[in-house]
């Protein structure tokens, strides 16, 4: 293992700085600003809440109609023959 001490230091190539800066710029472009993420989340929550509200309203009104449909009308009128 003493041979490992003979390994020489190598210099980082000069072009690497530009390569790294390009990579950093690309990464920054991919990062979505936090407030936009918040806006998107708020819109999604709003849509889901609206959907749930509408669905539950429809369900209630369907339930009412269903019950009325089940109960036959109780008039004493006879059919006209």
């Amino acid at each position: 293992m003493e041979r490992l001490k003979k390994i020489q230091r190598v210099q980082m190539p000069n072009y690497m700085y530009e390569t790294i800066m390009s990579k950093i710029k690309r990464e920054k472009a991919n990062i979505i600003p936090l407030h936009w993420a918040g806006v998107a989340a708020a819109i999604v929550i709003l849509c889901i809440s609206t959907n749930i509200y509408l669905l539950s309203n429809n369900y209630r009104s369907d339930q009412k109609n269903g019950l009325e449909g089940l109960v036959p009308s109780t008039t004493l009128e006879l059919y006209n023959e």
Partner: protein, 172 residues
């Protein structure tokens, strides 16, 4: 706090050389170095200065190098869809050893040593590289590895035994 460019200029060779010791070729070391400096750029503002910045950068380089090697191993296994031996990758092959810091006359012998180092567990490998190649003290190595000096000594002793065993097997 230093600017990113200043940090880069001070630590670029340190990062590149450490990545080279793990990857043993320029191309991979350059890729690791890019990831390291990307992380440094993103996290430098949050750096709490718990340890000094050089130690922090060493630690990032070690972690990124190990992650890179793991990903490379997984990629090769998936690509070939064969029951490839897990240790049968390019970096263990002496013929593909391309560390630019190794002199030609030493290449064969050092390639054998690196082929054995590559078969060690990550922590043992890191201990050997930091202690023997980077020539860090036990205390410095312990700080980089976020452990104690005793643990580093224990890791190094186990690594030495394993290396002897592997080198013997490879010769035989």
């Amino acid at each position: 706090m230093l600017s990113f460019k200043e940090l880069y200029n001070i630590h670029k060779d340190l990062v590149f050389n450490l990545a080279l010791h793990f990857c043993q070729n320029r191309e991979d070391a350059e890729e690791v170095a890019q990831d390291v400096f990307l992380t440094v750029h993103l996290k430098a503002k949050n750096f709490q200065n718990k340890s000094n910045i050089k130690t922090w950068i060493y630690r990032i380089t070690v972690n990124k190098s190990l992650d890179f090697l793991k990903a490379k191993k997984t990629q090769k296994r998936n690509f070939f869809f064969t029951a490839k031996r897990i240790d049968d990758d390019v970096s263990t092959s002496i013929g593909h050893f391309e560390h630019p810091g190794v002199l030609l006359e030493e290449k064969e012998e050092i390639a054998k040593i690196f082929a054995a180092i590559n078969q060690l567990a990550d922590k043992q490998k890191t201990a050997v590289i930091l202690l023997k190649i980077e020539q860090k003290s036990q205390a410095e190595t312990a700080e980089i590895m976020n452990t104690t000096s005793k643990a580093v000594e224990s890791l190094f002793q186990r690594a030495k035994l394993n290396l002897k065993k592997i080198l013997k097997e490879n010769e035989g």
